[in-house]
């Protein structure tokens, strides 16, 4: 599967499938890794473009050399004619024609190689655009995949596929509250009992006090003393 196909799998909503395939891998790591691989390929491709441009330059250098040679022999032919040396002029023109043939050959090759190099550069540009597109959509891709993951988890919870259920917790909480209520009621009863006991003790105490007063009055009468309470 190509880099883009893999990223598109995530984008086209097949995130779950992709997550399954990549097992426990973090989706963010996966997307970033894919972009990194694309960048590696881009650098490799740039190096290949260097080769195609170098091939153009090499043949262009030969073409320029051939052109200079043509001009050189043309000049020599003129000089020979001016000096009325026709044979020499003929030889110079033969050399010129040889150079001309080479010039045409290299010119043709240079044009063909230039076309190839330009095509490679266009392909490289396309690759660059794809990387930029993937980088722009990186956050979107990660968010979509994370969302899909979250949806799966929620669905699993709702379907009761997991061992844990939130309803159990509610039950536990409810019974806890019941217990607390029961305990509170029990403590109220205990308090009532305690309060009753306290009152009785007070009254008993009150009775105790009355008997002391009686005895005091009796003693005073015996001693001929006037009772101050009267």
């Amino acid at each position: 599967m190509g880099i883009f196909d893999r990223i598109k799998t995530v984008m086209s909503g097949k995130a779950n499938e992709a997550i399954d395939k990549w097992e426990d891998k973090n989706i963010e790591v996966v997307v970033k890794e894919e972009i990194r691989k694309m960048k590696d390929e881009y650098r490799q491709a740039k190096s290949a473009v260097n080769k195609s441009i170098t091939l153009v330059k090499e043949v262009e250098a030969k073409r320029n050399e051939a052109k200079e040679e043509m001009e050189h022999w043309n000049e020599r032919a003129k000089q020979a004619l001016e000096a009325n040396k026709e044979d020499l002029a003929r030889k110079a023109l033969e050399k010129k024609q040889e150079a001309e043939k080479n010039y045409s050959k290299y010119k043709e090759q240079a044009e063909a190689r230039r076309k190839t190099a330009d095509l490679h550069k266009r392909k490289l540009e396309e690759l660059k655009e794809k990387i930029e597109e993937a980088e722009d959509k990186q956050d979107e891709l990660i968010a979509e995949a994370e969302n899909a993951k979250a949806t799966t988890e929620i669905n699993e919870t709702l379907n009761g596929l997991g061992n844990y259920s939130a309803a159990d917790d509610l039950d536990r909480l409810s019974s806890k509250v019941d217990k607390m209520k029961a305990r509170a009621e029990a403590s109220n009863e205990l308090y009532d009992e305690l309060e009753k006991d306290d009152l009785e003790a007070e009254f008993e105490k009150l009775n105790d006090n009355d008997s002391v007063d009686d005895e005091l009055a009796k003693l005073k009468a015996e001693m001929g003393k006037e009772d101050s309470n009267k």
């Binding site: 960048k39 590696d40 650098r43 490799q44 740039k46 190096s47 290949a48 441009i53 330059k57 262009e60």
Partner: protein
């Protein structure tokens, strides 16, 4: 065979291609500027007090240019052309290096000077271990004049600041740093 098939048919290379920037270009890389492709045919590494900057010798088959790059707070890139040795500026600067100079009606001010150690690669007309004295002039519009003294020989280059976004690099056979 298509372009990408050609790429994929190659066995896994030991050295992955390292992305190029103006501070790690290598001899044999191709630099494209204003739609012209130049081959890096030489590289000069300048060092002064631990500070490093670069000059790359570029050739497009007809014209020779020098691409200067330094990371001084921000990346500074300039494209220079050697001034013809018969220019009167050579005579003017041979005896004295002024604070200000005029070239083609434009005023330039000396902004930097010093001595640097040289590391040389490829075709640069210099050798590793050489020292160079330099003076950098700048005009208001960003035009630059670089003056270098190699031994007793002066080298003057006229240049212009270049935006990095206008440069494209195609790495060559050397893996890069």
């Amino acid at each position: 065979m298509g372009f990408f098939d050609f790429l994929k048919s190659k066995p896994e290379e030991k050295n992955k291609v390292i992305a190029r920037n103006p501070l790690n270009l290598q001899v044999e890389d191709i630099v494209e500027y204003d739609l012209v492709e130049y081959k890096v045919i030489g590289k000069l590494i300048y060092e002064e007090g631990g500070y490093i900057w670069y000059d790359y010798h570029l050739f497009d088959g007809q014209e020779h240019l020098w691409l200067g790059a330094e990371d001084d707070d921000e990346l500074e890139i300039g494209l220079y052309k050697k001034l013809d040795v018969n220019h009167q500026l050579y005579v003017q600067l041979q005896d004295e290096i002024p604070r200000k100079l005029t070239y083609e009606g434009k005023d330039y001010t000396l902004i930097e000077s010093g001595n640097a150690n040289i590391r040389a690669e490829g075709r640069v007309g210099a050798k590793t271990g050489q020292r160079v004295q330099y003076w950098d002039y700048e005009a208001n519009d960003g035009s630059e004049i670089s003056v270098e003294k190699w031994g007793n020989e002066l080298e003057i280059s006229i240049g212009q600041e270049v935006k990095e976004s206008l440069l494209e690099y195609y790495p060559g056979a050397k893996s890069g740093e």
